[in-house]
């Protein structure tokens, strides 16, 4: 029956790659990518808090100290400005550092090195000083960790020329994009998500190959099975964990006859404007989804891009779903309100399709 068909759509879609769909967690995808790239290039090393003997705060670097030794897997003191700077200096000299921030909230302590020492150096030196560094770690909200540990940095880093900013969703994304990031000659900010680490995804056969990589700057458009045949009504852009929410929203929408094309951005900078615009030109409606703060967010940039490039194709105003415009609260009910939920995406998509009931905004007493 239709429901079973729809629920199985994701698995069905991946069948085109292999007959027995193999699965991999995001954690294993990242770990294997690090392992293979360190094996392939002796200049690659990892530096960060607890990456070595503790096996990684989130076990992403598990086993690497034993395999590569303390000269290539370095435990640092809790001094982000210091070790980020040391990493950038090592990159100046030709090594390929992978700097782990335990979360990107702590990257703010090192942000001067990410922007001023890393991102701008190739330009200021007219190409003399390149910086082949990767800054990686969990980004955005986890669960119940409060205001100082929940911010999404995609918009801030995504604004900076000279940086590349990636945000994987699935295991295949994680593996392919991390490999590309490590091989890339420019500074890359690699935004992972703590809540995705344990999630398992089917992966293609080629994903297991050590030469596998995904291109930087290319988004991935996917839709639930039904949309392939019934046309597309709305484009939903998302990155990281929100891709999963967007796909679930797409399934719900499909049952109501609205087919959505979900765009997994994968790359915040460069942003794949051609793919986004091509999709909007097909669907004529857009919902942007992100976890981060709304003002000057990734969705704001996508909206501006679409208005500039594809204005005549829009049949409805662009809808933005984002984190709430407040520091992240701790109480579970408030936290739930501060982060996008699947129903928010569904509601916005319906609004874009002029199918929603007139919404009465919740009165806020400030």
């Amino acid at each position: 029956n239709m429901n079973q068909f729809l629920l199985g759509s994701r698995v069905f879609a991946s069948r085109s790659f292999s007959s027995a769909a193999k699965e991999m967690t995001v954690r294993d995808a990242l770990n294997s990518a690090l392992d293979e790239e360190m094996s392939a290039d002796p200049k690659v090393f990892i530096m960060g808090e607890e990456v070595g003997e503790y096996q990684g705060a989130y076990k992403i670097t598990k086993g690497l100290l034993d395999k590569y030794g303390p000269e290539r897997v370095l435990d640092t003191p809790i001094t982000e400005a210091g070790f980020a700077g040391i990493g950038v200096g090592a990159a100046y000299h030709g090594l390929k550092p992978i700097i782990e921030f335990m979360t990107f909230n702590f990257s703010m302590q090192a942000i001067d090195h990410i922007i001023n020492s890393a991102a701008k150096s190739n330009y200021m030196s007219a190409g003399q000083i390149s910086v082949p560094i990767v800054f990686r770690g969990p980004n955005g909200a986890a669960a119940g960790v409060g205001a100082q540990h929940s911010q999404c940095y995609a918009a801030w880093y995504g604004a900076c020329p000279g940086l590349k900013v990636l945000a994987p969703y699935s295991s295949e994304d994680a593996r392919g994009l991390l490999k590309s990031a490590i091989r890339d000659p420019d500074p890359v900010v690699f935004l992972e998500n703590e809540l995705l680490y344990g999630e398992s995804f089917p992966v293609s056969a080629e994903c297991f190959d050590s030469s596998f990589s995904l291109p930087i700057g290319k988004a991935k458009a996917s839709s639930c099975f039904l949309s392939l045949f019934l046309g597309k009504d709305v484009t939903i852009t998302a990155f990281s964990k929100m891709v999963g929410y967007a796909l679930k929203a797409a399934e719900i929408l499909a049952k109501e006859g609205i087919t959505a094309e979900v765009i997994n951005l994968r790359s915040i900078r460069p942003l794949d404007r051609p793919t986004i615009n091509a999709s909007v030109r097909k669907t004529n409606r857009l919902v942007t989804v992100e976890e981060g703060f709304p003002q000057h967010g990734v969705g704001a940039e996508i909206c501006a891009s679409v208005v500039e490039e594809s204005f005549e194709y829009l049949d409805a105003p662009v809808e933005r779903i984002s984190g709430a415009d407040v520091p992240m609260p701790y109480a579970a009910n408030l936290e739930r309100m501060a982060v996008p939920q699947i129903e928010d995406i569904v509601r916005a998509a319906k609004r874009a399709c002029y199918r929603a009931a007139k919404s009465v905004p919740m009165a806020a007493a400030a």
């Binding site: 070790f83 040391i86 100046y92 090594l95 001023n116």
Partner: protein
């Protein structure tokens, strides 16, 4: 002026030889003959035995020191005029007075050793093999500049000469320098990095963060504090509870050096390199002085007296010191030295003339070097519908 110089030169012979000229004299014009010189002051040491005050040099080396420092001096003074003529814009931080640090350091090391500094970088750049043309052209934002006009005064680089910039953010260059040392050790090179910073930057937290790691991992890093006693307009005693910068490393040994004495600098850097290769980081505090203000926007006289500035010029100028030594050892005559200075003026003027002819960068350069690998993405100008480029 000439008279007082020669009178001073004569006085050197009459007075008991003052500290800087104590030497064994060889009455030979052999340019590689050894001369033994003593540093003006003994080294003050922290947690380490200081090196000897006695240094061997040669007439060749003395003349090279004089020539190099004179060229640096002339370059900076010319930059002052260019800035006032509005040919140099934005920031311009001049190094005149501090030449002995750049020249002394260079003489103790190789081009495979790395140097990184902050924004007072023109003379270090020259010492690392940069040319006057590259320097002036960069200052004026022209194509032939060392950064093709895209960096400016604070962003000179010469990677093949082991010079990693040129940095505008006070203190950031120290962790970066320790990162260079990390890479040197990682690659098993037997070379060191000199990470230079000022008395202002000496209070930066990231310096201590990186120094801690350098000490933990035994990195071949030498931290060189060019203490010119003023962090912008703030005197060291107003900014640092402990202005004994050579001691600030605590568990890291340090040496206080007369930074106006090129031989003291050379000796200290040689000593530091040997130490760092075996034992990890060490701090060198160079007691030096800048004649100009912090930058060309700062007259430099609101927070210090003109008497202080002229006093240092008279008593401690690094070039004058070498001049006295050269004259005392009959290596060259006063006229010959003056001719060298005239020659420096000439080559500096020629470089400026050539730099003035160098064109500004092509507008397409706005979009080059944003990335090493741009994937053909689009970047835009102020009006994205007007100006767009594909990043190579």
């Amino acid at each position: 002026m000439a008279l007082s110089t020669s009178r001073r030169a004569i006085n050197q012979f009459i007075k008991p030889l003052s500290s800087s000229v104590y030497a064994t004299r060889r009455l030979t014009s052999d340019s590689t003959a050894t001369i033994t010189v003593e540093t003006s002051l003994p080294f003050t040491a922290h947690n380490i035995d200081p090196p000897s005050r006695s240094i061997t040099t040669s007439p060749n080396e003395l003349m090279t020191f004089f020539s190099d420092m004179a060229e640096m001096r002339r370059m900076e003074i010319a930059a002052d005029s260019l800035y006032k003529a509005k040919l140099i814009r934005g920031f311009c931080h001049l190094y005149d007075g501090q030449e002995a640090v750049a020249v002394g350091m260079e003489s103790a090391i190789t081009r495979k050793d790395c140097i990184i500094t902050a924004y007072r970088d023109h003379c270090i750049f020259l010492g690392r093999g940069g040319t006057l043309l590259e320097s002036f052209a960069e200052l004026m934002g022209r194509k032939e500049g060392c950064s093709r006009g895209k960096g400016g005064s604070m962003h000179f680089y010469k990677k093949e000469g082991g010079f990693y910039g040129g940095h505008g953010i006070v203190g950031a260059q120290v962790p970066l320098g320790i990162g260079l040392a990390f890479a040197q050790k990682y690659s098993k090179e037997e070379y060191v990095t000199f990470a230079m910073y000022g008395d202002g930057a000496a209070n930066q937290g990231q310096l201590f963060e990186a120094l801690n790691m350098a000490a933990l991992w035994d990195l071949p890093a030498i931290l060189v504090c060019e203490n010119n006693h003023y962090g912008m307009g703030t005197a060291e005693w107003r900014a640092a509870k402990s202005p004994a910068y050579y001691k600030r490393g605590d568990y890291v040994p340090g040496l206080k050096v007369d930074g106006m004495d090129v031989f003291a600098v050379k000796q200290a850097c040689k000593f530091a390199k040997e130490h760092a290769l075996k034992n990890g980081p060490i701090i060198l505090e160079m007691d030096t002085y800048r004649y100009h203000g912090h930058s060309m926007s700062d007259p430099g006289s609101t927070y210090r007296t003109r008497d202080e500035i002229s006093g240092v010029r008279q008593e401690r100028d690094p070039i004058e010191r070498i001049r006295k030594l050269i004259l005392a050892h009959d290596i060259a005559t006063e006229k010959e030295l003056k001719d060298i200075e005239k020659e420096k003026r000439k080559i500096v003027d020629e470089a400026i003339a050539k730099a003035k002819e160098s064109p500004m960068p092509d507008p397409s350069e706005l979009f080059t070097n944003v990335y090493v690998k741009g994937f053909g993405v689009e970047a835009c100008g102020a009006d994205r519908k007007e100006v767009r480029a594909t990043l190579p």
